[in-house]
């Protein structure tokens, strides 16, 4: 007797959401490309809007996934159960970030000048070779893991790729930090502060994908993977604690700044009209509640981990936006005609391109999971 195939409604629902996201995103990208930069609400006071902050979020996610994978290269057992997922996530988030930043350019037809006349005296000039190198290492790493398993070659690339990840993301921090005209970005602090934030985002994304995939696919989770997930949950708690430490000192340093415009920007972002969102979303939802969820063993189960990682992803996405906008909220040249604080809010076209980034990652992950069997543990040679 033929068994009746049950329809996985969760998976169908997931695919519907992803496809709707892709359609909205493609519309946004087309609007931006064919109707131009006037479809955004950036201006001379706010040159970097939500597209730039989303790009930072995706590069952080990519760098974070690979930085977490360094634990595997350094010999910590157990990570091989998620290594393929981690590397694949690093690739697709990097690609999504790349697509978003190209769409964020005012004149994307000129991007070949990045290779024809690069400026290696600027952090953005270093970004291009680091980005390419990192992507190449990621692709090689994934190929080796998929085809050859955990041999010597994979181990070497498994150390180089996370190092390239740190180079890329700290350079991105430098692009913001070395813009000393905007002290809110943190100056010398920025390239360093970006790394623990990347670890938070990468770990949260990896956990979110592991648990969500388990819930949607309704497959059995192996005890080793379950154990690793809980261990990663504890690790998320630890990096959240480190991130909170950095966030506290960044904000205190800003509030105590003798430069009036810097202190004014921090006071506005924390206690002005965006204050409820800085405290409520980026700090409480993004950092504090997930920290408590992960530190408490009672809530460090699969549901708790899913909840915590979802909150972290929402909160850190909002925090990248707060970081980018905060640096530009006090106009550089003010007069009677100029408000004390510049208001920026994204247009629907900009939001659609953000949705494109997320939907693209979701689609690529779903396809990649089918094609490359991402839940597979890479074989160890000789075993």
């Amino acid at each position: 007797m033929v068994e009746k195939k049950t329809i996985n409604w969760l998976f169908i629902g997931w695919m519907v959401v992803v496809c709707v996201g892709i359609f909205i995103g493609l519309w946004g990208a087309a609007s931006s490309l064919f109707r131009g930069t006037s479809t955004w609400r950036i201006s001379d006071n706010v040159p970097w809007g939500i597209l730039t902050s989303t790009y930072v979020f995706f590069v952080a996610a990519s760098a974070g996934c690979m930085a977490v994978s360094l634990s595997h290269a350094l010999g910590f057992k157990g990570f091989e159960f998620v290594i393929k997922r981690a590397v694949f996530l690093a690739i697709i988030t990097l690609l999504a970030g790349g697509i978003i930043i190209i769409l964020d350019l005012g004149d994307p037809l000129n991007i070949f000048y990045l290779l024809r006349s690069p400026n290696f005296g600027a952090p953005l000039g270093w970004m291009v070779p680091f980005y390419i190198l990192y992507l190449v290492l990621l692709v090689i790493d994934f190929y080796l893991l998929h085809k050859h398993g955990l041999n010597k070659g994979t181990q070497i690339v498994g150390i180089l790729a996370p190092l390239a990840a740190v180079a890329v993301h700290s350079t991105l921090g430098a692009i913001f930090g070395f813009t000393y005209a905007r002290p809110y970005f943190g100056g010398a602090f920025a390239p360093i502060y970006f790394i623990p934030i990347a670890l938070v985002i990468g770990t949260a994304l990896l956990l979110w994908v592991i648990v969500l995939q388990f819930k949607i696919s309704k497959k059995e989770m192996s005890p080793e993977l379950h154990h690793l997930t809980r261990a990663l949950g504890k690790f998320l708690g630890v990096v959240l604690g480190i991130a909170i430490f950095f966030v506290i000192w960044k904000n205190l340093a800003g509030l105590y700044s003798p430069v009036e415009t810097t202190a004014r920007a921090y006071r506005y972002m924390l206690f002005g009209s965006p204050g409820w969102w800085t405290w409520g979303v980026t700090i409480l939802i993004g950092l504090i509640i997930p920290l408590f969820l992960m530190l408490n063993p009672g809530t460090r189960n699969l549901n708790g981990i899913l909840a915590a990682s979802t909150l972290v992803l929402i909160g850190t996405f909002a925090a990248r936006y707060e970081f980018a906008i905060g640096g530009q909220v006090v106009p550089l040249f003010q007069g009677l005609w100029q408000q004390r604080f510049v208001k920026y809010s994204p247009t629907f076209v900009e939001i659609s391109i953000v949705i494109l980034g997320f939907a693209l990652c979701a689609l690529l992950y779903t396809l990649g999971n089918r094609i490359f069997k991402l839940e597979e543990v890479p074989k160890v040679p000789g075993v």
Binding site: T37, I42, D44, G106, Y113, P123, L332, F333
Partner: protein, 280 residues
């Protein structure tokens, strides 16, 4: 006779423009067909209008090769009346779209009624010698030219807007491709007619045309300097507060005016070494 004279004048100007342009590597002047500005200047007189003095200084400077000219601007804040003629003149000259204003005039109110004054600060691009904007460009689309003007190559600029974020004076702008007459029945000629920045003809055929999407800034009207005209803001300044010229020429008015003890530079402590000085 008339036609021969016209041809002589046009070829002289074109040759002159070509000479000026050829010393400028990738930004060539394409002023072929433009008529020469025939100016007959009177003999120098005391108390003459400073525009005439500066015009004489400009024509003398243009006889030097590009690398020997060092353009500089001084703005006398005591004379600025806050009329914004420079702002409007610049917008008209360079066909600037909404939200791009190369020369903004800051209005400040000092004191409380009845002891109250207004102070005005026009802010063109400072043409910094140690500019943060040229340092951050990933494609070397912006640099300081030999004649002390920080230029932008629209053909290279990718529109990443790092230079806009990096300028501490807020003097750089992103051309988003907006028009003042958007939403009206017709886009007017005053904003769709070609602009001549950097000696090239820029027509905004579509939003893929430069300078849409690129960074833009004040360039001391280098296209006007190439044909022997003072920058627009200098010419329209009602209070005659704007001085312009070649600061390497010790006989020029700008050299005399910028060496005063009441000289001030905007945000000088940042170390940007701005070329624009103010008299307070």
């Amino acid at each position: 006779m008339k036609r021969r004279d016209a041809i002589k004048t046009i070829s002289a100007v074109t040759a002159g423009a070509a000479f000026v342009a050829s010393s400028n590597s990738s930004l060539k002047a394409e002023t072929a067909g433009e008529k020469a500005i025939e100016i007959k200047l009177p003999e120098p007189m005391p108390n003459e209008d400073i525009l005439i003095t500066m015009q004489r200084d400009l024509l003398r400077a243009l006889k030097k090769p590009l690398k020997d000219r060092k353009w500089s601007m001084t703005i006398d804040l005591r004379k600025c009346i806050g009329c914004h003629a420079c702002t409007v003149g610049c917008i008209a000259e360079n066909r600037l779209p909404p939200e791009v204003v190369y020369r903004v005039v800051r209005e400040e109110e000092i004191g409380k009624s009845p002891n109250i004054t207004m102070k005005f600060l026009p802010r063109p691009c400072m043409q910094c010698e140690n500019s943060p904007c040229t340092m951050v460009c990933p494609v070397k689309a912006t640099w300081m030219r030999e004649d002390n003007i920080v230029v932008i190559d629209y053909k290279k600029c990718i529109g990443c807007r790092s230079c806009i974020a990096a300028c501490p004076y807020g003097a750089r702008y992103s051309d988003l491709g907006k028009y003042y007459t958007d939403g009206t029945p017709k886009r007017e000629a005053y904003e769709t007619s070609p602009a001549y920045e950097y000696g090239k003809r820029w027509i905004k055929k579509s939003h893929f045309s430069s300078p849409i999407g690129n960074a833009r800034k004040c360039h001391f009207c280098s296209h006007r300097l190439d044909v022997g005209m003072l920058p627009m803001c200098t010419t329209t300044c009602v209070g005659r507060a704007t001085y312009f010229g070649d600061i390497s020429d010790s006989k020029s008015l700008i050299s005399k005016v910028s060496a005063k003890s009441n000289r001030w530079k905007f945000k000088e402590d940042l170390g940007t070494k701005p070329s624009v000085t103010y008299l307070v």
